[in-house]
Symmetry: C2
């Protein structure tokens, strides 16, 4: 499968590297074709890895992952181009974190809106599925690095897209428990997990943990 | 122990009833001494249960539980009287939910502030410990009604008060895993769990569930 990963930070690089490792072709998208991190990543990962602009990555991918910083996501996706995003499934991994006031960060949008909704409104022809944003990058790509059963939350307006993403999350990374928590407005809930996630990271002294729903 | 429970809703009645059942004296506080729900509760629970105004419940309790609706908590606590709350441990169970726009509710305060912080600022001589607000009332008083290990999150500025509350949660209700997630500003995190909690309640079709942190 050809996958476009938008964003060259730790999340984009780790997801992209894992996707190549499990047999996919990945193009990492950046603001420019001369982005050094993207070039280094593609050279390091080797065959089946390439890089380019956000638009080039979007055109390349049959499915897209938004791994940009939440504060830049709308701008990055606009640069990718609405036409290149149309009809694609976009897995939105980003969180609208604002570190400008220091730690812990606040959210740039929450409660009555969310980044997931902002993206879906800005790109109505794109099938946005919010997923993976509630775990650390190392846990995203290797859920077995956390002991025992633990869960992901996904949401979005397109039921077929959510089913496809649920299957990919299992196939690509080994995710066993994925709760569909509703339409894209449920992204308010999954993004608002971040404040407790950050407190727990500080308390537990590790980002390698996750939530499991017990009944 | 003498315990003052502020608020006559389901949470106050269930917590108060359980506390009487495990041997404590409980006074349920309401806006007025003629509150019918409080009078019915006290008569139904029987010996060791009484009711009165918020101020009477606060004066009665060696420890206090805020079980008022979050939208009314500051007003109810003001009615209880800062002097009656001074030096007391106040376990703040409330969530700042706003149902005025229908389901799912939004929060009246979040992200850069929280109800827990508002209460601590308004009553600086009170030892506020945020706890129990992330589970349903039935789970609060009977954590064994959810299968397997599952967790509570508490926070507050007074370490000794948090240690006391942690011991009481175990003794009163059987809570085994209580994460101290920091000072009272961490109430932003525990209150912001509510949006995903509500989505999960709708998805799972039951309020009888809880989070467990896996590492």
């Amino acid at each position: 499968m050809r996958i476009g990963v938008l964003g060259t930070g730790v999340v984009g690089q780790m997801l992209g590297g894992k996707l190549v490792a499990v047999g996919h072709e990945v193009r990492l998208g950046a603001r420019s074709t001369t982005n050094q991190k993207a070039a280094d990543w593609a050279r390091g990962v080797g065959a089946r890895a390439s890089h380019g602009t956000f638009a080039e990555a979007a055109r390349f991918g049959e499915v897209l992952l938004n791994c940009t910083a939440g504060s830049n996501s709308l701008e990055a996706l606009a640069s990718a181009g609405a036409d290149n995003l149309a009809d694609r499934i976009l897995i939105d991994v980003a969180n609208p974190l604002d570190f400008s006031r220091g730690m812990p960060p606040t959210l740039t949008v929450c409660n009555t809106d969310s980044l997931g909704e902002q993206i879906q409104r800005a790109f109505p022809a794109t099938r946005v599925v919010k997923a993976l944003n509630t775990v650390n990058a190392a846990v995203m790509i290797e859920p077995s690095s956390v002991a025992g059963a633990h869960d992901l939350f996904i949401c979005g307006n397109d039921a077929e897209a959510k089913r496809a993403v649920t299957a990919w999350l299992r196939e690509w990374f080994g995710w066993q428990i994925v709760h569909d928590v509703g339409d894209i407005t449920a992204a308010r809930g999954t993004e608002m997990i971040l404040p407790i996630w950050i407190r727990l990271m500080l308390t537990l002294g590790t980002p390698r943990f996750n939530f499991h729903i017990q009944r």
